[in-house]
Amino acid sequence: MFKSRRSAIVSLFMLVCAALLAVPQSQTIRAQAAPAGSLTVWCVGFDPHVNGWKKVIEGYAKKNPAAKVTLEPQGGQADMLAKYKASLAAGNGADIFTTPGWDVYEFSIAGQLLPLSPQVMTYDDAKKNLFPEYILQSQVDNQLWAMGIPDPPGDSGIIVNLDALAAAGLKKIDKFDTRQQLLDYAKKLSVLDNNKLVKAGLSFQENNGGTYLLSYIIDQGGKFWDNDKQEFNFNTPEAKNALQFFLDLYEKDKVDAIGLPNAIDGMLQGTVNMAFLWPEFMPFASGAAPDKKYGFIMKPSYNGNTPAIFGHADTWNAVIPKYTTNAPLAYDFMRYLASEEGQLLFLDANPGLSPLRSLVLGNDYYKTGKGAYLAPVIDAIRAGRLRYYGPWLDGSSIQYDIMWTTIEDVMNKRLTVDAGLSQLTKLSNEQIVQSRKRLPNAPKTTIYFDALPADLAIK
């Protein structure tokens, strides 16, 4: 084959050199395509999320067997966030964790997260591909800070016990056209014993109830936030109407009683037949109360005859903390989560809205699959009725410690409606001032009351 020993040696030498050059190159390519190592993911200890993450991790393991991803479910939302904050302060913990949208805003302002753009998705692509709330919550430095996980908008609808519905001779519908229709259902679903309400026909006792209030204010053409002054104002006729409507459920319509269990406990126990409740309750209840069947009905708009306005302020997101020691793998995993394949796996365990527009607006999952129940919500999105409230610093304080406790005070007749709304305005604004002192560089909050900005609008 070789003419001389010399040419053979030269050829062999060249072959070895080529091999030596080729080996590191191929390793680099492999590293870029599928980074190895291990990742830890923390998520809220809530079955639909835990099961969704398990499916995504299993899917990713098939794509990248060199990586080991461990899921560590945490406690409830509040305890989980306490741990995240401690972990971020200490600079040590999980490589990826899930968190509500307002914390994405706060963590990104404090510089505690790695941006996901451009590694997972460029910011421009994110604006085109994701639903607007995931952009609006990422208002720091024009970067995408979080990848959403499937989650239905909290205040889009109402959960109903299907057996109770059938027992009352009522038809399961997809959406309520008017508030009167909703109240008619509520009255028929209310169960009395010796003139005493023993099963609520429609409960409003759930501490995310404040978002329903906000949507009904906008639904009437009202506003609760001044974009210029950066102040809340609930002292408006629209806010009064909205709060009075929820209060009337207890005082005038009597379809619920304060003494009955809250919406979640009541739905699980069978003492509440219908409730203003987030749709994720359904996959949750399939584990907590497997003997009961629940359905989703889209809420009516305040004025009726138009799709209801709703706000997806309560997004759930995956973020990468800055301290992670395996950023390439974390990014790779996030890319998988951001893919249609990853999202569909999560959706199989937690049927909600994916953050991917293409999936929600085009995939069969929302036409004939588990997501079909969200059809009226998707119609409302197409009709331009989706909003986003926030982000505000200390959003959870405003939502739970101020808004819900004040609503409860009104429901318990400790405050009148007017006094409650005044208190809501005062306390929320005091919170905003205090939070600004802590993080003075936080970007301003802009609420798009009338319609989303053109570059984020959904056609």
Partner: protein, 317 residues
């Protein structure tokens, strides 16, 4: 002899000095680990908490946290509507729970001294609630006090009373939790007071009885003064526990929501302990949380010192 003296004398002297030095240093050597532990895990965290309370604390960048002096304390008192409620609830809760635990505990312990059979069984029965985790007690009593199907309302209606909205009525919720707190704390009080009563010398009560003292007089002039130390101990422990009331309130008032805020309905069952937890651990507002914790520490510390001084026993028997 002289040689022996010159050689052996210096050694015993040195040895004695060394032994004395060691004997003097020994207590310090023994308490050093505890002292270090106390400095690291008690004194330092308390001091650090006070330091944090004087800042607009940024957990991710403590060095950049602006010093605000006593502003967090002023904000708590002037703008945070939960603080006055929490402060009032904490004091009232303590003032209600402590005497009830003491009186009922002392009564049960006095009765048990007279019981000669099944004493251990009774003691176990009374002490059992103290062994059960508060989380379990909270869940069980949450169901017990459930307004629609709870056992409490079932019993109330059976004897002709109207049912009550125990945990949903803002005026009733705190007192409902207080009854559970009393039930839980009672066993410990009974155990300690029973042990204290057993150690009383019978000669004094016998002498008083021979002098014609009735039961009430014996209780007032003999039994209570002689059990003063035990009573002080139980009082101090119960007061400290009641001032730090948190776990039962947290469990019994947490609704099922995802972002649940304990302390409801509204803010009616907030205590200082709950406010510290909510602000610090849930909401990450370490400045106001530390200010609240410092106030709570001063109250507990002050109350304990006052009690120890007020109930100081100046005599022995």
């Amino acid at each position: 002899m002289s040689i022996q003296n010159t050689i052996s004398q210096p050694f015993p002297v040195r040895s004695r000095i060394r032994r004395r030095t060691f004997r003097n240093a020994f207590p310090y050597i023994v308490i050093t680990p505890m002292l270090v532990w106390c400095l690291v895990f008690v004194i330092y965290p308390v001091a650090y908490s006070v330091w944090v309370s004087l800042h607009q604390w940024i957990a991710s960048a403590p060095a950049q946290s602006p010093f605000v002096g006593i502003q967090n304390y002023i904000d708590l008192v002037t703008t945070d509507r939960r603080f006055p409620t929490a402060f009032r609830n904490t004091l009232v809760y303590t003032l209600v729970v402590t005497p009830i635990v003491l009186v009922i505990g002392f009564g049960i312990a006095s009765l048990m001294v007279r019981v000669s059979r099944l004493t251990r069984y009774y003691m176990f029965a009374f002490f059992l609630p103290s062994l059960v985790p508060a989380s379990i007690i909270g869940v069980v009593f949450g169901l017990f006090y459930q307004p629609t199907f709870g056992l409490a309302n079932f019993l109330l209606t059976r004897v002709g009373f109207a049912p009550l909205n125990f945990m949903k009525d803002p005026d009733l919720a705190l007192w409902t939790v207080a009854t559970v707190e009393v039930w839980q704390r009672l066993g410990f009080a009974v155990l300690i007071l029973y042990a204290g009563l057993l150690t009383l010398p019978h000669v004094y009560t016998e002498a008083a009885r021979m002098d014609g003292a009735n039961r009430l007089q014996i209780l007032r002039f003999i039994t209570l003064p002689l059990t003063r130390r035990v009573l002080i101990f139980v009082t101090v422990v119960t007061i400290i526990a009641a001032l730090q009331a948190f776990d039962l309130i947290y469990i019994m008032t947490t609704s099922g929501g995802t972002g649940s805020s304990p302390g409801g309905p509204g803010i009616s069952t907030y205590t200082l302990g709950l406010l510290v937890y909510n602000e610090g651990l849930i909401r990450g507002k370490y400045g106001p949380a530390s200010a609240t914790a410092t106030i709570l520490f001063v109250i507990v510390f002050g109350a304990t010192i006052l009690q120890l001084r007020f109930f100081r026993q100046t005599w022995e028997y």
